[in-house]
């Protein structure tokens, strides 16, 4: 049985061993590496369909691996981070990582994230995106719920569009600010919090318990289908 190829990078031999067995059990073909250099070599030799990447490696950090990998591969990257490595985690996400799990993680969570990133290989690019009962018409810049029009400001609309086009993916504050407000922005996370709360008040059934635009504390936001969560 040859399933999708996953490259696992961690310098802790026991974690690496447990992950290898787990992923094999879930039907993936597993490659592994213990160093940053080893990871890049392995990825070049057998291009993986997804990468699980520890942030702290003996010869470098996961962020650099991520950036390097991104320059020639579209394989989604899930970062293994630890409490106390929040900055590194954000840096890796900004450098192109798709998602993260925090050590010690549950196997179910990791496998679910892995399935999610593998499913979503390309951003949605159709003229109309449906999220639950929301319809987002990208070309006409219209949002309707069950046929009824929702009025959004231009920034709110762009925020929703970017999140919806990357459905399921964790977008960092910096990514969202750049996409919506332009490349000069990046550190004004408070803008974002305000706009997200405005957006939620218009599109969420209960803005205090958001089910569409979810907060990833300290990292960014993620849009999900309300049915699937």
């Amino acid at each position: 049985m040859t399933g999708q190829r996953v490259l696992v990078v961690d310098d802790e031999p026991q974690i690496l061993r447990a992950l290898r067995a787990t992923l094999r059990g879930a039907g993936y073909t597993v490659e592994s590496a213990e160093t940053a250099q080893g990871a890049l070599t392995a990825a070049a030799a057998h291009p993986p369909e997804a990468v699980i990447l520890d942030l702290v490696l003996p010869d470098g950090n996961g962020t650099d691996v991520c950036r390097e990998l991104r320059s020639w591969s579209d394989a989604p990257v899930i970062v293994l981070s630890a409490v106390g490595e929040e900055k590194e985690k954000i840096a890796a996400l900004d450098a192109g990582a798709d998602d993260y799990v925090t050590k010690p993680f549950s196997v179910d969570e990791l496998l679910a994230r892995l399935r999610a990133v593998l499913r979503r290989l390309a951003p949605e690019s159709g003229p109309v995106i449906e999220v639950g009962d929301l319809e987002i018409d990208v070309a006409e810049r219209l949002v309707t719920r069950a046929g009824e029009r929702i009025k959004l400001t231009p920034h709110e609309f762009d925020l929703l569009r970017v999140l919806a086009q990357n459905r399921g993916k964790l977008l960092t504050h910096r990514m969202l600010l750049r996409e919506v407000w332009g490349p000069a922005y990046g550190d004004e996370a408070h803008y974002l919090h305000v706009y997200v709360s405005h957006l939620r008040s218009k599109i969420e059934a209960d803005p205090s318990k958001p089910r569409i635009v979810l907060t990833e504390p300290g990292a960014g936001y993620r849009l999900v289908d309300p049915e699937s969560s």
């Binding site: 974690i15 094999r24 630890a82």
Partner: protein, 463 residues
């Protein structure tokens, strides 16, 4: 109190005696000289009696001396002699002129003397202040200087002694009277002078505020310095704590992650695990639990050592036996070579075996896989030394001490141990009266040494 009064009375007596002597001497001189010079013009010589008295004792004594001089002149030299009457009315005039001259001259002299004294006092005060400022600003600890400053201030104030206390005023010590040292908006401290003594008022008003201002600056500087030191200490202990937390959380989390992943996989019904993978997962759990329990044990040992709770139960042992047992405990007999003497030491066997095991384990870790670690025991009359020599990369000069810091890791050693082994070894060695240190030249391997005091073998057992 009495001393001050006595002194001024003595001063008065000396003054009067000096005055009488001065008038007598001038009278004698006039008696001697009058055969050559008209006597009336010699009255002016009494100025030489009045002037020194005015300079030394002031106007209050110079005035009576002037009058006494004129009376003496009248009595001894102006006709009719030996009476206070005068034959010639011109002589009255001359006498009056002499008296007035004497009074004016003595007033001028006294004033000059007062000015000189005041100038001297001020010079004294300002040079003292300047010296104090220099010393205090040079960074001398204020507390050490207070006694000296008190003594010198006493000199300026004209009292026998003075004692300075910083801070709020308390009940003055018996027999003293307090003067507050006030600078700008606050009381810097109090100066105590003997009760009843009379500090120079002008000096007190001039000098004490300046002294207080100076002390205030020094007090502030001391306080700032102390605060800076405390802040620095806090910052450092924060750094240590952060590093410690980070290290502990990393070292606890890694085995936990391994265990949790393996358990999660084994319990997940959707996974199709081969038997081989199952065994691998079980081994991960085994090894990582081992690692966790060792780490927790190390942390406990370390905290016990730091709390001083690792009291050794000493017995006499042959050191080579302890080394052999440590090697066996590590299951490393075929990688370690033991040689040397067999001195007796009085130690806690468990703790010293732990020290030795940690040193040997460390040496094994940093040696190439096929290299052997050499352990040699040497002994002098006082000390037994175990040297553990590895063939690893060695230690840089600046690492020789740092390797004993908790959580310190050598080079790129990211996976093995939490960096506690050597810290624990040093702690247990110290608890047993010994010490542990590192010797190395980079590229030649490292040597870790344990020194323990030797037990004197009783003579009757030396056969």
């Amino acid at each position: 109190v009495c001393r001050v009064k006595r002194r001024s009375r003595r001063d008065l007596l000396v003054g009067i005696a000096a005055s009488i002597a001065a008038v007598a001497v001038v009278t004698a001189v006039i008696a001697l000289v009058k055969q050559w010079v008209p006597v009336l013009s010699l009255g002016v010589l009494y100025v030489f009696a009045v002037l020194p008295i005015a300079v030394v004792w002031g106007l209050w004594l110079a005035l009576p001396v002037s009058i006494a001089s004129m009376l003496a002149f009248n009595w001894f030299f102006l006709p009719p002699v030996h009476t206070f009457t005068l034959a010639n009315s011109e002589n009255w005039f001359a006498l009056a002129v002499y008296l007035a001259t004497a009074v004016v001259v003595s007033e001028l002299a006294a004033r000059a003397r007062r000015r000189a004294a005041a100038a001297e006092q001020r010079e004294h005060e300002s040079s003292l202040l300047a010296e104090l400022a220099t010393e205090l600003l040079r960074g001398r600890e204020l507390g050490d200087e207070l006694g000296e400053i008190g003594t010198r201030t006493a000199g300026v104030l004209g009292v026998d002694n003075a004692q300075i206390e910083l801070g709020a005023q308390r009940r003055p010590p018996p027999g003293t009277s307090p003067h507050l040292l006030e600078a700008a908006d606050r009381t810097v401290g109090t100066i105590y002078v003997p009760a009843g003594s009379d500090p120079n008022v002008a000096a007190r008003h001039r000098f004490l505020p300046a002294l207080a201002a100076l002390l205030a600056v020094a007090v502030d500087r001391d306080r700032l310095e102390r605060e800076a030191l405390e802040a620095e200490a806090l910052r450092r202990s924060d750094l240590v704590k952060t590093a410690l937390l980070r290290a502990v959380s990393h070292d606890l989390r890694s085995p936990l992650t391994g265990i949790r992943t393996a358990v999660g996989a084994l319990r997940n019904p959707t996974l199709h695990l081969s038997n081989e993978d199952r065994l691998e997962l079980l081994e991960t759990i085994d090894l990582d639990s081992d690692r966790l329990s060792r780490l927790v044990g190390d942390l406990l040992d370390l905290s016990r050592l730091e709390a001083g709770g690792a009291a050794p139960e000493a017995e006499v042992w042959s050191l080579d036996d302890l080394v052999r047992e440590a090697i066996d405990a590590l299951d490393a007999r075929d990688r370690v070579e033991l040689a040397g003497e067999a001195p007796l030491v009085n130690v806690d066997a468990t703790q010293i075996q732990r020290v030795l095991a940690n040193l040997i384990e460390n040496a094994l870790k940093f040696s190439p896989p096929d290299a052997r670690v050499h352990v040699r025991i040497t002994a002098t009359r006082k000390e037994a030394i175990v040297r553990v020599v590895d063939q690893g990369p060695g230690l840089a000069e600046n690492e020789l001490e740092r390797v004993f810091e908790p959580f310190y890791r050598r080079g790129s050693d990211t996976r093995s141990g939490a960096g506690l082994g050597l810290a624990i070894a040093r702690g247990f060695a110290a608890a047993n009266g010994g010490r542990v240190w590192a010797e190395s030249r980079p590229g030649q391997g490292a040597t870790f040494a344990l020194a323990l005091p030797v037990v004197e073998v009783p003579a009757e057992l030396q056969a």
